[in-house]
Symmetry: C2
Subunit: 226 residues, 2 copies
């Protein structure tokens, strides 16, 4: 179970590529997906250059979804629904889909420090409304800086709030522990994605106010060390 393959759809973007680098560096098999296979192949080659011995390939999103234990959706919020619809027929019961999108107002030409409302409550709940029965949607990774993920020789130093059903949530929390410095925190039910996603807008504002291009991170204190 813990060695299941990881597909990262939109893995050609900064944050998806950063996760691909980190999971490959931890020895896990990663399939990068993109709408266009050739861009996914390029991204996989980039990962192979940076991580020696990386088990990584690049294919079209639907092909990446087939048979992956965990499918991470790393596409801009405005492409979330169309991406999920495009892979819907490739998803099978038992698979986990990880929503890391954030409904930033950039989706409608606004500021990255503002949010837009989502009818379902959050990007993660939008995704959950679109997947077939038996597919588990988990909210995670929204607040992890792409820059820090990509700086392979440094720990990421950030907590990841993981929300959704208990058993798949635990599996995604395990995934966090593969990345040095990252810690998965039990974020309860998926409806809490409403809060966690909005925290991204707050952090983006802090990045600007405190001039931290590498990205401000978040840590929860007072919990027993896991």
């Amino acid at each position: 179970m813990s060695k299941e393959s990881i597909a990262i759809l939109g893995g050609t973007g900064d944050q998806g590529l950063g996760l691909a680098l980190r999971f490959c560096a931890a020895g896990r098999e990663v399939v990068i997906g993109s709408r266009k296979a050739d861009r996914a192949v390029e991204a996989a080659e980039e990962v192979g250059k940076q991580v020696s011995g990386a088990q990584v390939s690049g294919v079209e999103n639907g092909d990446a979804t087939d048979g992956a234990g965990i499918v991470i959706l790393s596409v801009p919020f405005e492409h979330t629904a169309s991406t999920v619809k495009s892979i819907r027929d490739r998803l099978a019961p038992g698979q986990i889909v990880v929503s890391m999108g954030v409904p930033l107002a950039t989706a409608v030409g606004g500021s990255a420090a503002h949010m837009v409302g989502v009818w379902q409550g959050s990007c993660a709940e939008l995704v959950a409304s679109l997947v077939p029965d038996g597919v588990h949607v988990i909210s995670a990774f929204q607040n992890v800086s792409a820059h820090r993920l990509s700086t392979l020789d440094e720990p990421v130093e950030c907590d990841v709030v993981v929300s959704g059903e208990k058993e798949p949530r635990a599996r995604v929390m395990e995934l966090c522990e593969l990345v040095p410095g990252l810690r998965g925190v039990n974020g309860g039910p998926i409806t809490n994605a409403r809060i966690v996603e909005s925290m991204t807008a707050l952090l983006i504002g802090m990045n600007i106010r405190y001039k931290v291009p590498e990205g401000v991170g978040i840590r929860f204190t007072g919990m027993a060390e896991s």
Copy 2:
């Protein structure tokens, strides 16, 4: 300016009393307000017992508001509007009102891990809609554990996101630094209270899931030390 007196309305509750203890321990003058003067007097006596030499008094909310540099609203969310209306005539331009309320669903008989919607967007913006012109409303202190505030011999170890207009925001950030372990973080415009308030519901859920009755805290990482 930095020695202005602090009024804490609803200072008889756990969180208000905790702040009163900490500000008195830092040598600041605190006026505890309550709807009933005698309850405020009792709370002030309690602070006097725990902090030797405390400059603290207890009076009715309106009397506490008169002349205070900073007025902290520490009342349950459902009493926010009525409290602000009751002191409205006592507020003067230049005063700072700090909103620390959170629209938890407990206000309508629901769970403390859920939120209710506020027409203005947040408790802080509700307060801002009710104060006279020239009074500055700042959002702060929502995520600080009452238990940790009250444990005077230990630092609080929590960041406080402070949102609102620049100059009064800086003054409230200074207030945070009076409490060992507490750090004020620039949270930008008051509209960000929508995010910060909801983080309280997330933290309350974590307190339950991780069995931390003292309260999970939050730290932002990656910013230069202030």
